[in-house]
């Protein structure tokens, strides 16, 4: 049972994180080109982030196309990631030194290559910081999706709650925390490999 719950939890988080990456990184890059659009998108992201998680899940359930279950959970989790991920991609790309970009242009790079070879690599520390926050957050919020029919580790906590079973609650909580810490650690290691040398930002 615990295996099944862990697996479900993990796959939900993984799917949400992958979709968020595919969606919000391009959006974050795109809005660096247009200041007005950027403030609009970031405001929306901020607002969504404020919505209580149980509320967002509940609202998703009432949309007929989503209904109870995984699709609602996924949409809600992806929407939550918009804030940490989109904002950090935007800021990361935005703060790349103008003179570096000009130098690249002077070397004859077009904007596409500048984006891929200069801006994104230089923005990786900031993007990764947002990505890690998004992953840890998604792992925690995914537990609440149990109330809309997702059979994951949140179910352990919810069932422990109705049965007055402390062991179930504790094991659910610990497993979720462990997954979050493990994912964060793995991402930290990947970050070390990916971030260009000489760009190592000291994390506070």
């Amino acid at each position: 049972m615990i295996m099944e719950y862990t697996e479900n939890h993990f796959s939900l988080v993984l799917a949400a994180v992958i979709i968020s990456l595919l969606l919000w990184v391009p959006v974050g890059v795109l809005i660096t080109r247009n200041e007005k659009l950027a403030s609009m998108v970031l405001n929306i992201a901020n607002t969504i982030f404020c919505i209580p998680s149980l509320s967002l899940f509940a609202v998703m359930v009432t949309i007929p196309a989503l209904g109870l279950g995984r699709r609602s959970a996924l949409v809600a989790l992806v929407l939550y990631s918009m804030m940490p991920l989109g904002r950090n991609v935007y800021q990361g790309v935005k703060v790349v030194d103008k003179s570096v970009i000009e130098a690249a242009r002077g070397m004859g790079m077009n904007s596409w290559r500048i984006l891929w070879e200069i801006q994104l690599p230089l923005a990786t520390p900031v993007i990764f910081a947002g990505f890690r926050i998004a992953v840890v957050m998604t792992t925690g919020i995914a537990a609440i999706a149990t109330y809309i029919g997702e059979r994951n580790l949140g179910r352990l906590i919810a069932e422990g709650l109705t049965r007055f079973n402390i062991e179930m609650i504790v094991s659910g909580a610990l497993l979720i925390a462990l997954i979050a810490i493990a994912l964060d650690t793995v991402l930290g290691i990947i970050e070390k490999q990916i971030v260009p040398k000489g760009l190592k930002v000291r994390r506070s």
């Binding site: 607002t47 509320s55 509940a58 609202v59 109330y147 709650l161 909580a173 979720i176």
Partner: protein, 213 residues
């Protein structure tokens, strides 16, 4: 949409639920500030400098425990109702505020502190007139994060009998009444967003001139 049910949710259930939720959040945040700001100040004093880093790491780790788990874990020890809810939410609210207090106080440039010392200020005066005002925007940002978080986790309080807007959502989910879901969720979202905006405004006003970005 059943208008009778919308009316029932909005007029009969919502006012009390919203009131309980607001009281819950205000009490929690006040307690959390009262505990974590002094704690943060204490941990940044030179005497406890090493402890500060340790506590910061522990707080970071604690943050990964999901809100649902903390709510659920208080129940076996403190029972059901509003009091255990407030306790659980306070634990949640402590972390962002304490973390930001420590980060904000660490962020005050040592040059400024030295200048204040050179002007003959006592350590206490430096804390109240230099360090805390300079760290205030960051501390308030922590309060803001904590508030939004507490409103959010507060909706889960319904599962341990704490009442609040979660009650409406739980009823809605159990009976599958979308009207209850939308009213409960909508009010929760509005409450969180308006508190966030309010605190953003306070943060903007309280930032000392010359520190704004």
């Amino acid at each position: 949409m059943d208008w009778m049910r919308v009316k029932q949710a909005l007029l009969e259930r919502a006012p009390e639920a919203l009131g309980v939720h607001i009281v819950m959040v205000l009490v929690t945040i006040s307690i959390a500030i009262a505990i974590s700001v002094p704690l943060g100040v204490l941990l940044t004093r030179p005497k406890y400098k090493n402890l500060g880093v340790v506590v910061l790491n522990i707080l970071n780790l604690l943050q990964t425990i999901p809100g649902l788990a903390i709510i659920a874990l208080t129940m076996p020890f403190l029972g059901l109702g509003l009091k255990p809810t407030i306790f659980a939410l306070t634990v949640q609210g402590l972390l962002p505020i304490a973390r930001n207090t420590i980060a904000g106080l660490y962020g005050v440039s040592p040059d400024v502190k030295e200048a204040a010392l050179g002007m003959g200020m006592s350590h206490k005066k430096i804390l109240y007139e230099v360090e805390l005002p300079l760290a205030m925007p960051i501390i308030l940002a922590g309060v803001r994060t904590a508030t939004v978080y507490v409103v959010s986790v507060g909706t889960l309080a319904a599962y341990i009998g704490g009442g609040g807007l979660g009650d409406l959502i739980v009823t809605g989910l159990a009976m599958f009444w979308p009207e209850f879901l939308i009213v409960g969720a909508g009010l929760g979202a509005i409450l969180a967003i308006s508190l966030d905006r309010l605190l953003a405004y306070v943060e903007y006003r309280i930032t000392p001139p010359g520190l704004g970005t």
